[in-house]
């Protein structure tokens, strides 16, 4: 190619070819780990907002609670809770890898499935408990 300097280089696919190859489960769980990390970063605003609302007196607190109780508010809260559950469970999986455990492909696929199922169960379970009136034990 050195003798044809004016030739426009052909656009070549860059790795990983996320659009053309089947996603291995381990790749998907890794990408979702980062995505939930970004979502939780945005979620820190909610945590900070909640604390400020509690510190600012009943009116501000009630405004926060009624905003959180709207359908959009509940969807955002569920997203936050699921992201936390996923990042927590998959984070434990990452820590196990860092200690040298669970690298075999069947093991990594199994733990990935467990993380996906566990995070959904955990988030849905927490919301189910809240809806069924089993929450609110600190009042």
């Amino acid at each position: 190619m050195a003798d044809t300097p004016h030739q426009v280089p052909r656009a070549r696919p860059l790795s990983p070819h996320t659009t053309i190859y089947r996603w291995p489960l381990t790749m998907a769980t890794s990408i979702v780990h980062r995505a939930t990390g970004l979502a939780l970063s945005a979620g820190t605003v909610l945590l900070c907002w909640w604390l400020v609302a509690i510190a600012s007196g009943p009116e501000t607190f009630n405004e926060f609670v009624s905003l959180a109780s709207t359908p959009l508010g509940e969807v955002v809260l569920f997203g936050f809770v699921w992201s936390l559950a996923y990042h927590l469970l998959n984070g434990i999986r990452h820590l196990a890898w860092d200690l040298g455990y669970g690298f075999a492909v069947p093991t990594a696929n199994l733990s990935g499935m467990l993380v996906i199922a566990g995070s959904i169960l955990l988030a849905a379970g927490l919301f189910a408990l809240a809806y069924l009136g089993h929450g609110g034990y600190y009042q």
Binding site: C48, I54, L84, L126
Partner: protein, 126 residues
């Protein structure tokens, strides 16, 4: 033959200008956040539907206030470490990197300071 100076070798730092400290801090904060997240989840469920007074009295108990402060601070620290990796992966150009790191750290410090101030106010006069 290596062209590294003995001092460079002994510090074990390559072109990243840092050693394993970022990796290590990310893991230590992650491990600390496991019990804190579980505590946060149990507390949040316990405060579902609670009125302002009940929430206030829960968070003004010393242990709960300390755990909430620890959760917020370690969470924000872990966030900065994680977002730094994202910036390192996707952003090229030193100026953009430095700018984004300053924005992220500025946000983390603002959010952390605000959370601590709110918690102190919730706890009331000591």
């Amino acid at each position: 033959m290596s062209l590294e100076t003995p001092l460079h070798k002994v510090r074990g730092m390559g072109s990243s200008h840092s050693g394993v400290i970022h990796f290590w801090r990310q893991r230590v904060t992650a491990a600390a956040l496991i019990p804190l997240s579980i505590w946060f989840g149990i507390s949040a469920l316990g405060l579902v539907g609670a009125h302002e007074a009940a929430t206030l009295s829960f968070l003004s108990q010393p242990l709960n206030a300390i755990l909430m402060a620890a959760f917020a601070i370690i969470l924000l620290y872990h966030m900065v470490l994680g977002l730094q990796v994202v910036v390192d992966d996707y952003v090229s150009g030193n100026a953009q990197k430095v700018f984004l790191m300053l924005v992220m750290r500025g946000f983390a410090i603002a959010a952390g300071a605000t959370s601590i101030f709110a918690l102190l106010r919730i706890a009331g006069p000591l």
